[in-house]
């Protein structure tokens, strides 16, 4: 009796498993196939390459082509740098802010609402808003603020004594965040702004379950606020930190909209963006780059899932 009763509940997970299996295997299989053949969207010289066929077999040629392309290593480095920076900023800021708003104070509810709002903003709006209205070197607040500082300094030059000090002050130039060297930081800034609230949300929930008596005991033993934070709160938050890191890595490794809107990948390609560029014509190369991305994602996934998975079942 119990055997038949047990089978049905177990079967209930099959629809989800099958759906995800199809979702994963079919496109991945096709990507794998395309990565071994010559396949381009437009070619007047070699029209036979414009439709996928086994007779256009190229072996590992696409992989070589991708590895030798000048942006490939850069894109991988850049993917890792962007994700790492965002993770560092969001986790550190998130910890600080979560502790800050966990105490009771007047207007706590409103403060929380204001703080978590950025998390609800869609990436496209986030990017448009930051790059145009805030970071633009002429029309954005960035340019206006730098102009304002320059004007104040100009005014101070006329003062006696202090004026000679301010006359040494250089005229400031607003930074253009669409430029090759800086577009990365614009993306990091806007994504960190959006995802810090997510970290805050998760840390806040965990802080509420912290053992207060332990902290009181530590206070009686003469522990300072900082040492309590490092020795009691941070270890208590180890698991939430792992989860924040994992979920954010999932989302940020495939960052695309922000990079596209900020600089069209200028100076700031990550792997998904590079694949997108290949895919404008050379599907074979895009697929090979895609397989590299899958490998990279798997390396990171194994690492992250180990970290979180260990304690998931107990």
């Amino acid at each position: 009796m119990s055997a038949s009763k047990r089978t049905l509940p177990k079967l209930l997970q099959t629809p989800a498993v099958i759906l995800l299996l199809i979702w994963m295997l079919v496109p991945l299989g096709m990507t794998l196939y395309f990565s071994f053949i010559r396949y381009v969207l437009n070619s007047t010289r070699r029209p036979e390459w414009t439709s996928p066929s086994l007779s256009n077999w190229r072996g590992f040629g696409n992989y070589e082509f991708v590895m030798n392309s000048k942006d490939f290593i850069f894109a991988i480095q850049n993917s890792v740098i962007i994700v790492t920076c965002i993770l560092l900023i969001t986790v550190i800021l998130g910890l600080g802010i979560a502790v800050l708003v966990n105490k009771k104070f007047p207007g706590q509810g409103i403060v929380r609402v204001l703080l978590i709002s950025p998390f609800f903003v869609m990436p496209a709006v986030n990017a448009v808003l930051w790059i145009n209205m805030i970071l633009d070197p002429v029309l954005g607040l960035n340019g206006l603020a730098v102009n304002g500082i320059n004007n104040i300094v100009d005014g101070l030059r006329d003062f006696p004594v202090l004026g000679s000090f301010f006359s040494l002050w250089p005229e400031l130039e607003p930074i253009s965040f669409r430029a090759t060297q800086t577009s990365k930081y614009a993306v990091i800034m806007m994504v960190a702004w959006q995802w810090t609230p997510f970290a805050v949300l998760i840390f806040m929930t965990s802080l509420q379950s912290e053992d207060e008596s332990q902290k009181e005991a530590a206070t009686l033993d003469g522990a300072g606020a900082w040492s309590k934070f490092i020795n009691l709160t941070v270890p208590h938050l180890a698991r939430p930190i792992a989860i924040v890191i994992m979920i954010q890595s999932i989302f940020h490794l495939s960052l695309y909209a922000e990079i596209e809107i900020v600089s069209r990948g200028n100076g700031n390609k990550n792997l998904p963006y590079l694949i997108g560029e290949f895919a404008n014509n050379n599907i074979g190369a895009a697929s090979a780059a895609g397989i590299f991305a899958v490998i990279l994602a798997n390396i990171i996934a194994i690492f992250l899932l180990r970290m979180v998975g260990k304690s998931l079942m107990d």
Partner: protein, 278 residues
Amino acid sequence: MATVSQQSSFSKIAWPVVAWIVALIFFFPIFWLVFTSFKTDQDAVNPEFLWRFTPTLENYTNMTQNYDYWRFATNSVITSTFATLFALFVGVPCAYAMAFNPSRHTKDILMWMLSTKMLPAAAVLYPMTFLTKNFLGIFDTHFLIILVLCLVNLPIVIWMLFTYFKEIPKEIIEASKMDGVTTWGEIKDILLPLAWGGVASTALLCFIFCWNEAYWTVRLTTIDAATLSKLIEGNRAPEGLFFGRLSAVSTAAIAPIVVLGWFCQKQLVQGLTFGAVK
């Protein structure tokens, strides 16, 4: 003793002040977006009118004409709602089976599901376009976007539900088995009422992720099923042009989800744990 009380009275004032300042800094970009949306396109780029200007609703009244906002908004509502419902419909039974009838492989299956989320979308974009356009003929349909949004979020939905269901004592479910309740009855009458808060937070987060999704929705649609993400990404103006109207349509694009988030803030603060809290 004196120093301690002095410190605490200082922190009583400083603490909320710092918290408020941080909150206002974080909220400022959103405020600025809404603020700019009440300026005309000319005023929006003129530093003279940075703070003082004559507010106008013109950007909002012209939104339908300038951007065809409502069609995109309707598409967003339809696809996000049905994708969330569908994800719950598939996810609840799955999480139920995993939480109450776990096998040796449950953890591996769960981890595998999450790993599908790490598959870079860009790697499989072309095959997806190819399949949906040439073979299935469902490119740029609501059905496709609903399906894709559901599949993209399913791993997270199942994981969240699983962590909530795991907290429910097994005895309650076992007891109902003794009473001869069917599996469906167990889910509907016992599990869902008990885990209601968790299911609601899951649905909410899934809806937010669906609404904000900006890769598939942009690339698997042209017009018919295009969502607000596509509207904004497609209409981002060249530098300095149309800041006013762009702000208005951006505000309108994020407003539904931000307001929803505000109302459900309590639910999110208590519910969003991903099993991080024991």
